[in-house]
Symmetry: C2
Subunit: 406 residues, 2 copies
């Protein structure tokens, strides 16, 4: 294999069918190598215009009238959009409203309640902290035992790992589709089927896959799922999460936070809570409109680009990163903490180094923005609509130099 040079990366950009999307984002410093779109996606120009319109016209001028005119159905209208374009789900199966943490709490609580008598729940040691903590809280309150799937490192858990902890005492299994550190991409239909064969419900966390990996919730027979909108969906800092509940399950599940937005005939404001039918039962209170409205443009852009094309570029970007790791970094004290098989990898790559924290600091000083993950991970996120092949090249070259400087 010949050494890869910067002109090679430039050629890849020139041939990239998605390259034009970068112009649809606010990018005022073209020299910035932004490799953290999986933590906070860039600002679409359409979102900038939309939020200013929501602020100035919808709030400033129309005031309370905008609730009736446009805002009341935002959580379900955006839910339908995310469902049908990003999730392989149907209208009426998704809402966008609370934070990821609150959405996970609702989903896991409802799933636990739907399996009374089963005394355990399953989660990976490697799952994202908030998933683990929310489940710990619910397990404590419901007197359930947590069965931890041990960390499997870069490649993520296998079917056998899940099978080993499954039996008819398990109420709920919760897994991350793409691991936030390793980037391991799990087999959603296979693992869902395994959970079901034990009679358990499954809750998938899609935070690190939605918008970068095609997802088929219906085809995978998923029960519940939660995901965030501020990474690959580019909805902005802390933008609300989505929650998915399979239509067939909705009549038998009940979420725990009984707010006025989830009550039948909410403006009756009458005595006694009765949940609204369908997915509106998963709303809680008045959602933050500025953040919520910002969900739409990024999703529309990804839908326009097509997730198959997005995934193809994502794989090519991570493949380039792994190749440059092999050429430049593997012999320089770095280690690859992500799967080598692109079919088992999401849209980021984590590279370890004993001095990761200092290296990240040096990268930031050089205008390269990765993510540091304790204790020793340098996480490089590739957002197919905005990350260029030269960003991968320049980012990894900067890592080589930063390590050499140390």
């Amino acid at each position: 294999m010949t050494e890869i040079l910067r002109p090679d990366a430039e050629e890849m950009d020139a041939a990239d069918p998605l390259a034009g999307y970068r112009d649809q984002f606010v990018i005022d410093d073209d020299t910035l190598v932004y490799l953290d779109g999986n933590s906070l996606g860039r600002l679409p120009k359409a979102t900038q215009s939309l939020v200013i319109d929501v602020l100035t016209h919808q709030w400033g001028s129309r005031l309370i009238r905008s609730w009736g005119e446009r805002w009341m159905d935002l959580p379900t209208r955006l839910g339908d959009l995310v469902a049908t374009t990003m999730l392989g789900a149907n209208p009426g199966e998704v809402v966008v409203c609370d934070t990821t943490t609150v959405s996970l709490y609702k989903a896991l609580s409802a799933a636990i309640d739907a399996r009374p008598g089963r005394r355990s729940v399953v989660i990976e040691e490697d799952n994202f902290p908030t998933d683990r903590y929310v489940l710990e809280g619910l397990a404590r309150r419901n007197d359930l035992k947590i069965r931890w799937i041990k960390s499997r490192g870069a490649d993520g858990l296998t079917s056998a790992d899940l099978e080993n902890v499954l039996d008819d005492s398990v109420a709920v299994v919760t897994l991350s589709h793409v691991d936030y550190r390793s980037s391991a991409l799990l087999d959603m239909p296979g693992l869902t089927s395994l959970a079901h064969s034990a009679g358990a419900l499954i809750v998938w966390d899609l935070c690190h896959s939605v918008g970068a990996v095609p997802i088929d919730l219906e085809g995978s027979a998923v029960d519940l799922a939660v995901g965030c909108t501020y990474k690959y969906l580019n909805a902005g800092p802390g933008a609300p999460a989505f929650g998915y509940v399979r239509a067939a399950l909705q009549p038998e599940l009940s979420q725990p936070i009984w707010g006025w937005w989830s009550r039948a005939e909410m403006f009756d404001m009458g005595p006694g809570y009765q949940a609204e039918s369908g997915i509106r039962a998963w709303l809680t209170g008045t959602p933050g409109v500025l953040s919520l409205a910002a969900v739409e443009p990024g999703v529309r852009m990804l839908a326009d680009a097509g997730l198959v094309a997005v995934r193809a570029k994502s794989v090519a970007l991570t493949e380039l990163a792994v190749r440059l790791y092999d050429e430049w970094l593997s012999a320089a004290g770095f280690s690859l903490c992500s799967p080598r098989d692109p079919e088992r990898r999401g849209s980021h790559v984590t590279i370890g180094h004993p001095n990761a924290q200092q290296i990240v600091q040096r990268l930031l000083e050089r205008g390269v923005v990765p993510d540091f993950r304790r204790p020793d991970g340098i996480r490089l996120g590739f957002a197919p609509l905005t990350t260029r092949y030269v960003d991968v090249y320049d980012g990894l070259q900067a890592m080589r130099e930063a390590a050499a400087d140390g």
Copy 2:
């Protein structure tokens, strides 16, 4: 008493020491009579600039770096601001993060857990729907009985009403400081003391008082409180709520949604949840920054105006409304659904009419924006920084005309 004429209202505006604040808001149609600032407050000019800066510079340019540079402490920094300027509370006692409904859920759940063995909870029939529904859900889950305080109509509940339902089986009392329909303003220190004398905790809902009525949570010995920021605090549609927990109680209370933001050393992301000490234990997940950042300018403006002056104008506005009701509406089929005594009234006045819904429709067509509250209430909200005395005059005159047209 001589009839009041429009020039009288104009004179009141001319003499109003707070009149100048109106210029600090985005008001593109000066003829609009906006009497719904208690549902959605107007847009401050400073908020418009700030949100555009957050959007374009903080998100668009600084990207993920803004979390470290400015966003991580927003929930507690804004909490301290609201605590010290609006609530008579101390730094470290308030966070701003989730919706009002989720904040109520956390507060009520924690309070119930802190009184194990007590089998009942107390709430008014008149309380806002989401307060009632959240409590119903928690009562069902914890097998508690709800003791309902019967509706007391316009004047709100008395000490005797609360005393009648209190005994040592009551875990928690929850009350609204100002009733969302009647505007009845309750005796916070007296009722709090009563709840405490029965050994119960109290959770106050401040949604309809904060920013319009001076509040002294510390002086009233309040345990927990929740309130929204999109009414008199002008933070925008669905802006996040605040939650207050008295510092002395924080070590013994635990909120139920164990998210990564509430864990000690959150970026350790380590195994096992342990709550952060202090008020950060009441955070949950990543908050919506666009909506959260918008909390600051409105609060600063109210603090600058001073809540004593704000309250004085609020009383004068509601007094004018009641006087015009007496002159024009009382004999025209309307009824007053709010307290006559301004000391027992918040900053809105509700006026009933059998054809309220049609009258509200006609008012909207005439450029007067009130709120309709089923079945027959026309709610007129007066935001002292933006509502003019002529708005009160014109609004009530339009009501008289709208009823005469019918």
